[in-house]
Symmetry: C2
Subunit: 234 residues, 2 copies
């Protein structure tokens, strides 16, 4: 069984394992589970494919099995701003945004690395959301999570001070200790900056994505002092 | 019965009418309705009061009966950016954000005009969301709506071209027709700009809030040509 437009659909046997990654799976009744088994699809996307927009269709809820997706906004003049990225086991809600009538914006989502996903078609997801409190509440948490991502991006754009301050702190520590391998907890940095640990963790992850640092248990390795210095000098 | 900190709590008799403004009211069972009647509170806030943060408490879901609230983000350095405003019958979800564990951001909400609200305490709202599919799905739509507001603000900040282009179009029409009273549909403007009608409507409402235009059926009255010109020249 082949999809004409979305790459190979895998054998159905693999589905039950994957479906259990949805926290609501166990809360569904047998009929709803059967529905998901019947209509859920394993699909592959290639680097540079678009998940949104997708051929004028509302694709559905997408659970990333492997690979990497990037959500961004695009201006009329072609300017792009990255909002968040999705990795293994992350779930892409906005590819099913057609089922939420109050969503009046367009996020674009592109495939950054070859990606395989579990796809729950929009109509099915909509039905489950109307039938199951577990699915509806899961959707609320999912949207809250993406909302947080976007607010973070917004605050970066608006205020852009944290990245600069974090880069400064990292470089100061490195200079002080004469090493690129800092044993620093996120909590300690947050205290330094008078900020919240979550904010620091988030910014460090962003630095990692940008190739500026590597993060391992209790340690932060500076990978690109020169670019960190540029950020610190902003 | 008086609240020590949140102004007068009205007589309970007024509650049923107000509660019916929640689209999910009719979907609740009698027990849930009784719960809302018992714990729902009518409260008043004064201009400049804060709804978020509110004395380190998670206030609850707030339905605006009259007045005006403003949601904004605030940088460490004190810079403010308005995200959206709430008017009569609008609902403030983030004053109950503590019940959504994935919300990791802080919006501030202040009272711009004396405001009376119906307050559904967080614990009660949380319980209803866990019990009622109607409440959960309503919450999804509510969050989608606020998400759209924030995305709109983000795009304004990022790309900032629509306001400029809209101001230009309005001034051109006014110059062309020799009047400040334009009979122009939002659709027509959208076509002019190669944009969506919704985007134009939204920007016009923003202009109205800023005192730049008045909107009546099929007509747009320019109230401040000078400021519109400044925007057009950006």
């Amino acid at each position: 069984m082949l999809s004409t437009c979305l790459g190979v659909i895998f054998v159905k046997q693999a589905l039950p394992d994957i479906l259990s990654f949805f926290p609501f799976w166990k809360e569904l009744n047998r009929e709803q589970q059967a529905d998901l088994l019947l209509h859920g699809q394993l699909r592959k996307f290639q680097k540079c494919d678009m998940i949104i927009p997708y051929e004028d269709q509302c694709l559905g809820l997408v659970l990333v099995r492997s690979g990497q997706l990037r959500a961004f906004v695009l201006s009329d003049s072609g300017k792009e701003v990255t909002l968040y990225r999705l990795y293994e086991l992350d779930i892409c809600l906005f590819s099913a945004s057609c089922i939420m009538s109050n969503i009046q914006f367009t996020i674009q989502i592109e495939v950054e690395k070859d990606t395989s996903v579990l796809l729950v078609p929009s109509t099915l997801y909509d039905r489950l959301m109307q039938q199951s409190i577990a699915v509806a509440n899961y959707t609320i948490q999912l949207m809250a999570s993406r909302f947080s991502d976007v607010m973070w991006a917004l605050e970066q754009v608006l205020f852009k001070s944290m990245d600069c301050r974090l880069a400064q702190v990292l470089l100061e520590h490195a200079a002080r200790e004469g090493t690129n391998e800092l044993s620093l907890t996120h909590e300690a940095i947050a205290r330094d900056l008078g900020s919240a640990r979550e904010v620091v963790t988030r910014m460090l992850k962003y630095f990692r994505e940008e190739g500026l640092v590597e993060l391992t248990r209790g340690r932060i390795q500076l990978m690109d002092q020169k670019r960190l210095q540029t950020i610190a000098n902003r």
